[in-house]
């Protein structure tokens, strides 16, 4: 298949199995992207990710602009070579990060001025600048700069931001096309980001307007899982499932936890990313098929069982809960590595099961069973 083609292989209701082609290999969807914000998936070696079968990694334009700077990454041969990951990479524009700097940024039609969270220096992101940064980084898939709003924003504010994001999308496309012709280097795909909060009309307008701008190779869905109730998120996904072109991949940004992945896949989402598996891996919580497990729990002191008896990862194949607990109690780095590895494997494996279930028409029953077991017990501390 040609770069950035998306082949639909099977479907069950809105859930679908597909394959998204990139210059660095294909991605079987629905897929979970491990997050490598600063050109490293925290506590994991790229060889671990390869061995886990990670299909694609996400890095962050904002963070890499600040450290080490896109000039450094470009000089070292681009992100793939820099971080020694030869599979597909997607970069976020950094819109989410910039707009999270509440007291440190000022939005205008031109762009957004902000202060670096690293050294307080003043920076200015425009749609064009963000394309330049992501061109220099060289990920396979890149995102437009979007105006991100808080989860509780009114319809008025959501529309205002969404319409600005659409104007920025047109500027992003112009910059993208211009730099493509100028450089003639590795092909990249630019995705628009659909915003609009939980407001159906705004989301619908945004999806239709974005789709009218160009024949995008995929669409990102932003601004969800930011505090709204789950039914609100599911309603937006249902709406966008109808509004977005069926023959293009949909990427749900920053989502999520196992239940979100299943509910998202059920609504036609193809790509997900979330820091949860590695963040939880560093703080001592493991996903298991029976819920979350707090590895510091004193009850595990002599527990010879693996994190999850159903898991086939190399952590579970080798180490007892008692040993992993010891590593966390003693603040040993190996603990962060082993739990991150398990948690990423857990979500990759979940997506693999989902693909199999969709392909065989068993997704609905599989997902009900899976979620019932997952919610049956949770030993995570409150």
């Amino acid at each position: 298949m040609a770069d950035f083609e998306f082949a639909l292989c099977a479907s069950e209701g809105s859930a679908r199995v597909g394959r998204f082609e990139t210059p660095h290999g294909g991605v079987d969807t629905p897929a979970f992207l491990a997050v490598g914000t600063l050109a490293t998936v925290k506590a994991l070696d790229p060889r671990d990710l390869r061995a886990l079968g990670a299909p694609m990694i996400l890095a962050n334009g904002y963070h890499l602009h600040l450290r080490p700077g896109e000039d450094v990454v470009r000089a070292l041969g681009g992100l793939h070579r820099f971080m020694q990951w030869d599979g597909p990479i997607l970069t976020d524009s950094g819109g989410f990060q910039v707009f999270s700097l509440e007291r440190l940024r000022r939005v205008s039609e031109e762009g957004v001025e902000f202060q670096s969270h690293v050294d307080g220096s003043r920076r200015f992101f425009t749609p064009e600048r963000v394309i330049d940064i992501q061109r220099a980084l060289g990920a396979d898939v890149i995102m437009q700069l979007d105006h991100v709003i808080p989860g509780e924003a009114t319809a008025h504010d959501a529309r205002d931001a969404s319409e600005r994001s659409l104007r920025w999308l047109e500027r992003s496309l112009q910059a993208f096309v211009a730099t493509d012709e100028a450089r003639g280097e590795q092909p990249q795909a630019l995705f628009p980001v659909i915003q609009g909060g939980v407001h159906a009309a705004v989301r619908l307008e945004a999806a239709q307007a974005a789709a009218a701008v160009a024949d995008w190779r995929g669409f990102a869905i932003g601004g969800l899982s930011v505090g709204e109730a789950k039914p609100e998120m599911y309603a937006v996904l249902d709406l966008l499932d109808q509004a977005l072109p069926r023959e293009r991949p949909r990427y749900l940004m920053g989502v999520g936890f196992p239940e979100d992945l299943i509910e998202g896949a059920a609504r036609g989402v193809d790509l997900f990313d979330c820091v949860a598996p590695t963040r939880m891996g560093r703080t001592g919580t493991a996903f298991t098929t029976e819920g979350k497990l707090n590895i510091r729990n004193a009850a595990l002191r002599l527990d010879a069982e693996p994190l999850d008896a159903r898991c086939e990862c190399s952590t579970c194949a080798r180490f007892s809960r008692a040993y992993l607990r010891h590593l966390f109690v003693a603040d040993e780095l190996l603990g962060y590595h082993l739990l991150s590895l398990h948690n990423v494997h857990f979500l990759l494996s979940l997506m693999g099961e989902a693909r199999t279930a969709i392909s065989s028409g068993a997704f609905r029953t599989w997902s009900q069973d899976w979620l019932a077991r997952y919610h049956s017990r949770s030993t995570a501390t409150p």
Copy 2:
């Protein structure tokens, strides 16, 4: 070969190549032992150590007694199974750690009372208790409890401590023999620890007295590289090379840096351990064949070269100095892992080169060349 036999294969001057057999495999000597104080070599997975060809790992009785407790390790099947390292393991008695707690311990003929550095709880180590702890941990080679003194101790203090260590050695042996018969489990070897500071007469007496107690399977040399001048350390090693039985392995505790390994091997030392490669790996300093390299150095910002062009480790085969610098500047865990891996590989590789050189009678010239290059340039910050 039978467990704990030591076969001498080649020699050049006092330097020798040997093989030390253990219930978990043989160790080609001279050998460097990576330090896994708390049943984990910091920032490395046991699979990494296997891939690096690490011949033996050191863990620590004091630290493991406090966390997670030797009862936990024993219940989980012993150290090898607990930490998933099926190669040889050596445990230190914890004497060095206890005597480092200057204001927190009190020595008597019976043993040493101290306060846990973890929770301040009162503990009492006797020679017998320390044997029990190490029996529970189940390492292949274990150490007696010794009375460790500061590097600047007088001959009088050194003799007093050394003589106490010898009396404790006899009690250790009795406890060791008694528990061996009682348990009938995995064979272990107990090493005496030769103390005596930099005082030749005390060292000589200690070596002769210890050797007279039993037919030990090896000897540990303690109390060196604790602040004394290098020539003083070398003089003690020269002395002990003559005084200790030639047909038994000598283990120089807590030493050392590359130059120490070479100078030690030249004086008939067979086993070394040191936290330096992993500690430096976490703080951002890499061993290279041309000296130490501070990876945070701003001059490396765009440096596409590996840490050491001569190195064959998987860090150097893949990553640029610029990328590694970025990881350290951004406090990314992968940096600690990759530098630790490189530094451990560096010392393992150094010992491999030393064995080859000794076997071919080229050790003297090889070591001179190696040290000259190593001292030719150092970019580590002061």
